[in-house]
């Protein structure tokens, strides 16, 4: 995997997450931002900053992206639960809604 196969996501509190493009594209919002036809600056830098998302929430979302890719072709009965901490549930829901994933 080379650098161009990955994207860097940066949280409001300055945490950086380097994840594969395949995983990042679980989010339709990220996918549109990185679309070369979209004209966003992010599509050139492959780096997106989220001023409204904390590092803790963004890391959990990255884990969810990998979880989703991993179990994409698994029958739903065989997929383990993706656990969410009660204290984080609302923030996670809002961020996931914004990221359209």
């Amino acid at each position: 995997m080379s650098q161009s196969d990955t994207v860097k996501l940066i949280s409001a509190d300055g945490f950086e997450f380097i994840i594969s493009r395949e995983a990042a594209y679980v989010s339709n919002t990220i996918k549109s931002m990185l679309d070369e036809q979209g004209g966003f600056m992010e599509s050139e830098t492959n780096q997106i900053t989220f001023p409204g998302i904390s590092g803790a929430v963004l890391e959990r979302l990255c884990q969810y992206c990998y979880y989703k890719v991993k179990y994409l072709h698994t029958p739903s009965t065989a997929i383990p639960e993706f656990k969410v901490h009660r204290d984080m549930a609302l923030d996670l829901l809002m961020a996931a809604n914004y990221l359209d994933m």
Partner: protein
């Protein structure tokens, strides 16, 4: 499976196989953060890992966390430092 390689405020999600060695990981990390494998030291918890060990031998599982320290320009190694989130970071309900 993947592992989360952490240094300071950066986390690299890395797709890996249980048969991969520590050296394989360093090479993959090197491609992503532009650091030669020889300038990387990987840790599991506070234990330094050697190049020939495989992830299976180390008992590393999907979503596990590894630490990374880099060699400084003066040839000495930086201390392993991983910045933690304020909120619970494992996201798992008690």
């Amino acid at each position: 499976m993947y592992v989360r390689v952490k240094r300071q405020k950066t986390t690299v999600f890395l797709q890996v196989n249980p048969t991969d060695t520590v050296a394989t990981l360093k090479s993959a990390i090197g491609d992503l953060i532009q650091q030669e494998p020889s300038t990387q030291q990987l840790y599991r918890g506070s234990t330094a890992l050697t190049d020939t060990q495989t992830l299976a031998e180390l008992g590393v599982h999907d979503d596990d966390e590894l630490g990374l320290a880099l060699k400084k320009e003066d040839g000495t190694w930086e201390a392993l430092e991983i910045m933690r989130h304020e909120a619970p970071s494992d996201g798992v309900a008690e």
